[in-house]
Structures are given as C-alpha cells and as structure tokens.
Amino acid sequence: MTDYKVVGKGLPRIDGPAKAMGKAIYTVDVNLPGMLYGKILRSPYPHARILNIDTTAAEQLPGVKFIMTGKDVGDVRYAFVDTPRYPADEHPLAIDKVCYIGDEVAAVAAVSETVAEKALSLIKVEYEILPGVFTVEEAMKPDAPLIHEELLEGTSAWEDWGVAQKKQQREAEINVNNMSGHSAISFGDVEQGFKDSDYVREDKFELKATAHCQMEPHAAVASYDPVEDKLHMWLSTQGIFLKRFLLSKTFKMPIGKIRIHHTFVGGAFGGKIDLFPYEFCAAYMSMKLGQPVKIELEREEVFMATRQRHPMVIKVKTGIKKDGTILAQDIKVIADNGGYRGSGPIVVFLCHGFSFPIYNVPNYRYEGFSIYTNSGIRGPQRGHGAPQIRFSIDSHLDLIARDLGMDSVDIMLKNIRHQGDLLPNGDRLNSCGLKECLEGAAKSIDWENKRMQFKAQPQEGRYKTGVGISLCAMFSGAMYYPFASAAIVKMHDDGTATLFTGAQDIGQGSYTTLSQVLAEELGIGLEDVHLVAGDTELCPIDIGSFLSGTALVTGSAVKLAAADAKRQLLECAVEVLGVDDIGELETQDKRIFVKDDPEKSISFTQAIQTSVFKKGGNPIIGTGSYKGYSETDRYPSLAKCKGLFTGAYGFAAHAAEVEVDILTGKVKLLKAVTYHDCGFSLNKTIVEGQVHGCVSMGAGQAISEEIVLEKGQLFNASFLNYQIPISLETPESVDQLVATYEPTGPFGAKEVGEGALAGILGAIGNAVHDAIGVRVYSLPITPEKVLRALKN
C-alpha cells in the first residue's frame, strides 16, 4: 500500500505555476471582443410590493444597450432545491415583490460599468413597503406576514430524471408560518430513553450567519452565438454541469445548446453552486443583443446578495447513564434561510446527516425547520450544517460532562461509532478512524495536563487558558444531479495521457489529485498527464465540487478510466511480450513489463502502435464512470431523512487551546489540532492545506465572523467590518492524518475539505468554557459575550 509512485506524495499542484505567475484566467479576467458590462438594480427594502418600474430615463442614457425587468422574463423559476415538495421559488428578477434587501429588480447592459451604474440610478421603482419578519421566532408566529404566500405548483425540474416520482402534498399537519423546509426522523423510544437515564440536560445554542468570503467576486460572462444558436458561458462556479442543467431549464433551451467554458475559480466554499440572477441576466441580455455581456459583482453585493451560512437556533436534550452512556437524544433545529428557500430543506436534513454518524444513540429524535425571513439567502457553505450541529452537540456534551464531573473525552469515547457500524439509514462505515482521531487530538493538545476542569486552583491573572475538543463527520458525495462523474483518458503516441474531467478545481487541488490518480493507475508520471477540465462540451459529466464528492466519486471515475486505458495497453503487449495473460504484466514509467522477467518490456508507444495497426486503428481511449453513491439510485428523502446518504464519511477530531483576556473579553486561538480520517491522503500537501483552511475558516466563525443584520439591512458588507482571520491570527496548527482505508474510494481516499471545519467551533467553545469557567452559548464568541458571561 505504501509502494505508490505518485499518489500519497506531497507533489506541487499542477496549476501552481500558472497561478503564481498571474497567468491563470479566472472568470473576472475573461475579456471578449465587443463585450458589454452588466449591472443589477437591487431592492433597498426587505419586503415590498413592486407597483411600477419606469426605465424611460435610463434607456435614453447614451451607452445603454439593454434594460431588463421581471416583466420581460415572466414567471421563470429555478432554485438549488427543486422538488415536488419544495418547488423552485426564485426568479431571475422580481416580478411583483421583493423579499430581501438586495433582491434583484432590474438589469442593465451598457458599454461600460460606469454607464451601467449610472443607468441603474435612473431607473425609478415604486414600492409599497410590506411588514417584514427578521427572526425565525417572528416568522413562525401564527399571525406573521407571509413572505411566500403564493401556492406553488407541485412540479419539479427533476421529474424527467425519474427521481421525483410523484407529487406529494405539503404536510398539512405542520402548521408553521413561513416554513420552507422540514425534516424529521426518530428511532428507538426517546421518552423511555430519558426515563431510563440517570441524568438529563437540555441546552439551546445560537449561531449567526457567516459569509464565504471567496477572494474572487462572483462573475459571469455570457456570449450567445446566433449563427450556431449556442449560449457560451464562463462562470465562477463549483459545478458546471449543474449550472448548465439549471440554465437549460430556465431558458427552456436544449442542454446541448449551452456550453460552459473553463475558468479558474477564485474560491467557492459552497457559495458558487446555486444559479444566480446575474448569471441568468448576463445570458438573457447576450441572447437579446447578440453580444457578450459580463457581470461582475461588487464585494458588497457578494456579501449581501449571493449566499450566506444559515443562522440557526439549536436545542439539544440528552439523557445519559452514570457511566457516560448516552441513552437518548432529542435535537431541534431551526434554520433561517432568508428571503428565498436557498438550501433550507437540505441544511436541516444535513444537520441530522452530520449528527448521527458520530455517536451511537439508541433512542434518537431529530426535527429541523427551515424558515423564511426577509434577509439575504442562505445556501451551502463549507460543511453545510455540520459546523452548527457539531458545535451544538459537542458543547452540550461538554456541559453534561462538567455537570457530572466527568471527562468529556471519556463520554465521547464511550459513545462514538466505529468501523463496520451500520447507521440507522443503512449507510455502513466501511472506514472510520474516529476513535484514533479523538485519542490523537486529545494527546496532542496535552488534554490531561492542560484541562482546567479538574484543577483545584483557579488561574491567576488577566489571561486565562483552556482546552476543548469536538468531533465531526462529512459525506463524500451523494446522489444529486448529475448523480455521477465520468472521465476519459486519451493516450498519446509518446505514452503520455490527457485526462478529460468535468471537475472544477476551486482551489482544493482536484486537478492535481485527479491527475495523480490517473498517473498512479496507468503507470506514468504526474508530468506525463495533460489536463482538459471544466468545460461542458469537452469533458464528460461530473458531479461537481460540492458535498465533497470529488475525491471519491470523480476520483473513482478517473481511476476506472485509467484502468480501462491500461487494460487496452496490456492487451496489446500480451502478444508482443509472449505472455498468456495481462495479469502477468505491470506498468511503470510509460513501459509495460513482464512481472517475473522485467528485462522483457515494451514502451507505451509500441503498445499504442500495435493497437493502431492490429486493433482496427484503436488509438486507446479509456473511459470510466462512478455514481454519486454506488449502492442506490435514489437521492435521500430530505423530509423523512430516509434512504442512503453517502458512500463514505470523512471524520475528524479537533482540539483547541485558547487564551481569554478577561479584561477585554477577547478570545485568542493559541493552538489548533486536527486529527482527521480522509481514508488515504492522495496528496499530503494538498490535504494539509484543506485542513489548515478549514481550521482557519472555522476559527473565524467561532470567534469573530458574523453577518450583522438589523431589520434585514446588512451592516458589515466589507472585509474591514466582517472580520475573517488574517495572518496575525494564525495559531500553532497541528494536523495529523489517521490513515484508514475507504474501500469505495480511489486508493482508499474519501472526503477531507469540508468536515475538517466543523469540529473546531465546538473545540473553541469548550476551550473558552474551560478557560473562564462559564459558557457562551452563541457564536461567534465576541468580547461582549465573554464579558457578559463573566458578569453573570
């Protein structure tokens, strides 16, 4: 297993030189001849009816080429979630109503951004302001104003895929206003479990909305070619095939008439997968004008009107035996998804999905609601529900441990799941290094010695330190459109190969790791792999770089494609080398060897020539494909939390050491430890980079990051006021791979880039409690909250 030549090594990324030299082209860098520039007019009100839009003055401005409003587009709907139960509720441009500050009202294309901006100021919109709701508590009240009072048709974009099989009635029994999604599941007997417990505790936690802060602002370039009747697009996105599908549905265009071209993506973190109005409008205006249109959002728009992480209120109630065995758990989640549904029904499903793989709880009840409010839209963000639910559950367990005078690590160890466990939905943990992760992280943070919980003497002075620990789990892909990834490996005369993959490298290094998989399987060097990626026309379908499916799903497809090419090469070599079976051969350095007699060999070049001459001109092209989850053809039920979720779970344990200044309330992360189980590390440097990035983002969201809203108005839409970690806040960072082997993943690999964020929040929260002796129940743990907690 350790004998690999290419995978497992910390090889430099293949796109590194282009990025280091400033030569990598991102969507914001795309510049086409005759290109026009678009801008979007946004609602200044959180909830209002549009009475009239007057574009006359704007149309007369020299340089303005096109102005579009909701009336031009009509009742076009799309959304990230689009099922019979949860039909699409977003419009490219508002038709008669706006639901949050930033909601799109009109779009302009002009000869320059300056002219387009001036035109926006000349558009007169008459609004009738409606009462808004800004918290989930307000929104759920029986007399609350309804944000989406329209009854939507129970149809779905997915029906022709046979996935959504029948229309379902909305759940009449759940009478909650402004509900956009609901998930519920239970197993065992929760009430009996509480009765049988020695100790029962309930806690409530709160988490604020956070921003992705991708360094590249959202952007789109659209160029419609009327001669070939084809829409060409360059998008800063994580999933070109999902985008193409949604564009095809909204424009009612054949999917083959839309081509998404490759660009590098300047960070995504979940926030670049939904279809956005600016993308639709760029395409629409380009189709009307026959000229390219580019729309690049301002940083303020990225904060306000793309996506945010769901703020949540989470209640956890746990019944536990004296020996630390968890008997029952009842979890209630309320997620605020903003003015449109976004990923509301998914995130409340995923909060269960990332809760139940960690602890074996025999009696368990989960219920989650996603709720509309008149705030910005919430969608997927790195970990998608995992940070919120993991913070809540592990903070809660730490509180129970403190109540009972127990060590929280002992409670965790007693209840965690292990390799081979069958989860209640039917997913099996074929690989699970949770125990080793937990033990390793505890040791690395010096848990026994540094934990203040059991120290007799309180700490002296202004600065208090403490340690905390938390666990997390994440899917490695799942069943969602396009449900699979495929790959093509094309051999060249010189024995090198080109990989065709629809995967997007959003910075996570997939171009490099996928190329490594190809090289290892085929028996060539990484430098022998050429890459064509991220283009819907040139590349086979790909599941997309979200829900952490790339390593396992696309990686498996690439491995199969490489194996297919290799088999064809070996079949040509059998005769030449005079062996009976391809099993007697192996490949290395672009050559084929007889295993028992390595002196006998031929080059890939010779094998390809043999194939061309003797096998009907076959130049050798390998293909491979892999499903989002090989065990099932269905996506799981979001509402019932039933069905198979994912082929493999990635795991991690985080430990944090913090220093709290009790004079100012400021929390400083001194040390962050991550022990993670990604099965097998395809590229050590890249995996470490994923872990460090996760830790930094999670630490920011634990300590300083918060979208500040006041009646739907965003107050800190800039990097100066929305405080993401800067270099000065970099803690001592330890990351350690706990090697397991995931049998369904390429070379044993599975997820690493998302789950490793989720545990650090709880670890920091618990460490703060350890340091100051009191709990802060809401994130981020700001100086004000620390001081308030100390005062009480």
Partner: protein, 160 residues
C-alpha cells in the same frame, strides 16, 4: 477627462491616456491586459491587487492612475524572469501556499518586498508583513512556512 501618463511597468515604459478617475488597478487590468493583478474588494481591504510601485507594495485599487505618472510598477507578470519561476513563486508552489490562487499575486509581491528589505524576517515579521493580504483558502499556515523557508534559503545563499 483624460490625461496621458508615463508608466514603467515590468521594465517597459508606456505612455497611456487614462481617465482622471481611473485607478492604477483598472489601467493595469483593462488597458494593459495585465489581469494577474486581481480585484478582490476595490476598497483597499483585501490586498489582492497589491503591486510594487517604486519598490513599495500598494493596493493598486486605491492609487489613481494619474498618481502613478512617472512611477515604476512591478506586477506579478514581471516577477518570473525568462519564463522560469522566481524562487518565491517556486517555493509557494512547493509548500502548498497556493490554493485558489486569487490572493497569490498580491501575496507574492508583498513577500518579495519583505524579503528584499529584510532577508531574515522573524515569524512575527512575516505574519505582520502579509497581514494586509487576505487569504481564505490556506489559513496562512503554508504561506508562512513558504516564506520562512525562503528566508532560510536566502540566508544560506547570502541573498537572491
């Protein structure tokens, strides 16, 4: 209103007609096609648009192009020589200091300025130097490692 400025960019002196309200960033990206300089926020808060003007790092989105008249500017496109990577670029790639790459041009130019002035920076000086360059992908760990190793190398060689 337009004004003609003389600008030496990556060793080449150019005479460019610019609008008086155009920023250096816009002129570099749009007029000169040097898209390696990135626009992350256009407010001087993220550091993605960092270039070296007369050897000093500036946020090019905050510099009016007319103020750059007569100045010498180095962008990321001018760092590699004869098609081969500068040691900073090479080390960034080797050490995993590049992920999405959007902050990379600014980060590399800031690093160049640091190491040109201070070949032996302490960990604190490294963190301080890049504190105006935001990176969301790496958590800075591998960037700091890359700069640390460059400083060591530079000392061993007695300067680049």
């Amino acid at each position: 209103m337009e004004k003609t400025i003389n600008l030496t960019v990556n060793g080449e002196t150019r005479s460019i007609a610019v609008d008086v309200n155009q920023t250096l960033l816009e002129v570099l990206r749009e007029d000169l096609g040097l898209t390696g300089t990135k626009k992350g926020c256009n407010q001087g808060e993220c550091g993605a648009c960092t270039v070296l003007m007369d050897g000093k790092p500036v946020s090019s989105c905050l510099v009016l192009a007319v103020k750059a008249d007569g100045k010498t500017v180095m962008t990321i496109e001018g760092v590699a020589k004869d098609g081969s990577l500068h040691p900073i670029q090479e080390t960034f790639n080797q050490k995993g200091a590049i992920q999405c790459g959007f902050c990379t041009p600014g980060m590399i130019l800031t690093t160049k300025n640091l190491l040109d002035k201070n070949p032996n920076p302490s960990l604190g000086e490294i963190k301080e130097a890049i504190s105006g360059n935001i990176c969301r992908c790496t958590g800075y760990v591998q960037i700091i490692e890359a700069i640390t190793s460059l400083a060591k190398e530079k000392n061993a060689r007695g300067g680049v």
